[in-house]
Symmetry: C3
Subunit: 159 residues, 3 copies
């Protein structure tokens, strides 16, 4: 078959290390000419947040969510050994030492490789996140669009 | 191809938000005429527990597990920002405000859409859960049945 | 079709219960004549560590990681109800009572069934784990090898 292979990743997790795994697989698949989509839902949306504070109109609970959730990839915690915030720093130090690519750069690389970065509109509504707060040049869709991609996918993962 | 597409989800997690994601994808896939199965294993089994206390004969450790694990979908905690139980309430409040469907209703909807809800018999045995404690009209199976479904699945996810 | 079915599992998690689920599915798939690969990345690598202390040359941060991470499958914690280390013991007790197979035996069984156990070389480098510290007769590969397997896989899971 000469058809294009497809990789579809749901990024549900808001953990730095899990998001890294998602973006490493995605960038690898794109390098192998897969058509790649990362569908960011629930806490995974935080990877797409801009790191500056964007002023948008929100109600009280939405403001709280906005403050409590990490603002962008670089502020996310890790799933294991978080050690009151010490863990992510250690991971990042060790990554720098080994010339590993940090998450924000992996996301930029994904955009350069034309990976479809999708924000789940249902979650945005639920957590009160608005388009202005998310990275530019991403797409917005719901579970129906995910399923339309995934049902023909070669590699489907929930991370 | 005019074959029926298949979605097979393993729900391993006992988190309210992850179970929501599983049931939202499952209900979406069923709406798109997929044949859908959710295989509930380990902590995911808690989503299928009845919320009342069912008296069945158990040994000491089984009783402890029974008490410590959440009794039904509505009592499950969330994976992030649990904040000593404050998180799930906030999520549920925000869901109510946005007319999002809460987990117990998503499960009911799944049953109406004839999604196969399967309880992993190995886990039931391990945790001492008995059929009387779980929702009616679900199925009971092991890993062999899961694999028979999944090997022909279009969308296979582990949540 | 008479082609061999393929199951490819990424084991990212370092939790005892999630690793158990991965190995139960993998052993089941191998019993059904699937060609099975478990790709161990990030914390999932700990399942492949030997349980004795192996002396290898490491820098300070690598030594810290080495000490903080569980040394082998038997020392891994569980994802829920860890209760300061009490949870894993309870799970193991209950498993023994029900003649369930503990994780180290599941791994041995996987090796006997010729399941490909792969250690992610990028993670090894990152965490400073060396071949001497990991089980014998495993393979070493990166994300490219994973994708080459997974793009033709029937059951692809991220655990």
């Amino acid at each position: 078959m000469s058809e294009t292979k497809k990789t579809n990743i749901i990024l549900f997790s808001g953990d730095y290390d899990k998001a890294m795994a998602a973006y490493i697989i995605a960038n690898g698949a794109a390098a192998y000419d897969h058509e790649v989509t990362i569908f960011h839902t629930f806490w995974g949306l935080n990877a797409l947040r801009k790191d500056e504070n964007i002023t948008v109109k929100k109600n009280f609970v939405e403001k709280m969510f906005g403050k409590m959730m990490p603002r962008g990839a670089n502020k996310m915690g890790i799933s294991k050994m978080n050690f009151a915030g010490f863990g992510p720093k250690m991971i990042k130090d060790v990554m720098k030492k080994h010339n590993a690519v940090p998450l924000p750069d992996l996301i930029e690389m994904a955009q350069e490789q034309e990976i479809n970065l999708v924000a789940c509109t249902m979650t945005m509504d639920l957590l009160g996140l608005q388009k202005e707060e998310l990275l530019d040049e991403i797409e917005y869709a719901g579970v129906a669009a995910y399923l339309a991609d995934a049902e023909n996918g070669n590699v489907n993962l929930f991370i």
